[in-house]
Amino acid sequence: MTRRGNSKLFFFIGPALLINLVIVLIPSVSTIVLSFFKWDGISKPIFVGFKNFETILKSSDFIAALSHNIIWTVVFLTIPVAMGLIGAELLRKTKWDFLQAFYFFPVILPIVVVGIIWGKIYHPIHGIGKYIGVALLGKPSTALYAIMFANIWAWWGFLCAVFYSALQSIPKDLYEAAVLDGANNWQEFRYITLPGILPTIVFMEIMTIIWSFHVFDWIWVTTQGGPAGSTELLATLMYKKAFYSYKVGEAAAIGVIIAVLGMFATLIYYYLKKQKGVEV
């Protein structure tokens, strides 16, 4: 490529790359660096090696948040994916794809707004709590599940649309042939739909693992991690450590752990793609 071509290329990509470098890449690398320092945000940072990670991994707050995150991930890997698959398959069979927009609508609403609406739905006086006698968000044993139920409401429609869109590439005559051969609904789903969109399912499962560790808004607007830490997730714990208790180094260590877990999921994806030939 000529020098003229190079300068043109820089003109095209430069602005996007520059803003990305300054606001995404450099701060992300800085977080990794900060995770090795003890810092309160004001005084001079002190290098402490892996001590932040040690402190974090030994603290019960972190272990609790991590286990909530794992529960969250397992639930989101299964329930909304199953709902999305069922929804997509039924939309295909009925051709009622106008319903897709209704299912998708909760996905695009601000989480702050829908979080507050679900807070009202669960409310012990102004919601279903009045009738069932339980404040679902106020009890440590139910709060996390109540938030997950609300988040699934605003999530499964997205998966349904993803799967429905992937379904469009399966040749129609496969289904027609199956029906002629006497296949029932389940067999159509099991032997045509499922293998046909398997790469998309795998991709969404991997993204689910990554996204599950980023969840913040839902918790922040409903319970802020309470009651008694029962809904604390890694992202909210990190936020509190950084901006409320000024343990910036420990917060950065949690940020690094969140990112590493995400990268681990990405590695699994590339492994599946290379080794098992799952094509995406």
Binding site: F12, N20, S30, F104, P110, H126, G127, Y131, F216, A242
Partner: protein, 273 residues
């Protein structure tokens, strides 16, 4: 297909529909009740429609100012994303260079890393540069957060434009720049509109960034303003619900008009190219 399984299929679709709509019904009905009725019958239909709750939500809170603030943020972000992402998407789709696929991979990687990984150093950096409590600062954060996705999305549209079209224009003596605006852009317009729609939604809905980088009440966008309402108006659920609906309304209307673009952009196969 027999009648029973047909019935099951439609029943399931209907249950999904009810699940999707039910919380919205609760919010709308609560926003139209007076406080007494809301207390006595929190989930039923309103007796009389109290539209004054909406006037109260809009006028007695700082929602009006928040609307203006969010609108500025959305417009600034759209402009910034388009200016940076369109040329980048074009270059990654149509110019062959050494780091092309590496950059595509990098931008994909960016869409998978969380705001949490960069937010702490960013906060201290922006404080030093006086970019906290600043629309410019927040818009820069939004642009940086949303460009990787926008580049990948628009690239998938640019790629589908045949090279012959471009070559013909270049042979006729058009510059790359002319070729871009006269040939590529018109064909890629659906991709650009989809990007605009999704970036509007993300910048209107974002919460963690203004929560962190804005702490002056007259600068807060709608999401943060609504989240703050609960402290001040904790007993007035009818006002909170009206404010929440007003907060979601612009995005709701956008979705009602352009839901195909939302779905194609977020759930279509475009991103995986």
């Amino acid at each position: 297909m027999n009648l029973a399984s047909k019935f099951t299929i439609y029943a399931l679709l209907f249950i999904f529909l009810a699940y999707s709509i039910f919380p919205l019904y609760i919010a709308v009905s609560a926003s139209l009740k007076d406080r007494r009725e809301l207390f006595l019958d929190p989930l039923g239909f309103p007796d009389r429609l109290h539209f004054e709750n909406y006037a109260k939500a809009f006028n007695s809170t700082n929602l009006k100012q928040a609307y203006v603030n969010s609108s500025i943020l959305v417009l600034g972000t759209i402009a910034g994303v388009l200016v940076t992402a369109i040329p980048a998407a074009y270059a990654l789709a149509k110019i062959n260079f050494r780091f092309n696929s590496l950059l595509i991979g990098y931008f994909f990687f960016c869409t998978t890393i969380p705001a949490q990984l960069s937010i702490i150093p960013l906060y201290f950096m922006f404080s030093k540069l006086h970019l906290t409590n600043s629309f410019i600062g927040l818009i820069l954060l939004y642009i940086a957060s949303f460009t990787p996705f926008s580049i990948l999305l628009m690239r998938s549209y640019f790629v589908s434009i045949p090279n012959e079209l471009l070559e013909a224009a270049l042979i006729d003596g058009a510059s790359t720049w002319q070729a871009f605006w006269k040939i590529i852009f018109p064909v890629a317009r659906p991709g650009v509109i989809t990007t605009v729609v999704i970036v509007s939604m993300w910048s209107w809905n974002n919460f963690i960034l203004p929560l962190t980088f804005i702490n002056k009440q007259n600068l807060t966008p709608v999401t943060v303003a609504i989240a703050m309402l609960r402290g001040k108006w904790s007993a007035a659920w009818e006002v909170i619900m009206a404010a929440s609906i007003l907060g979601a309304l612009p995005i709701g209307i956008l979705f009602a008009i352009l839901h195909r673009r939302f779905i194609a952009g977020l759930a279509g196969t475009g991103l995986k190219g």
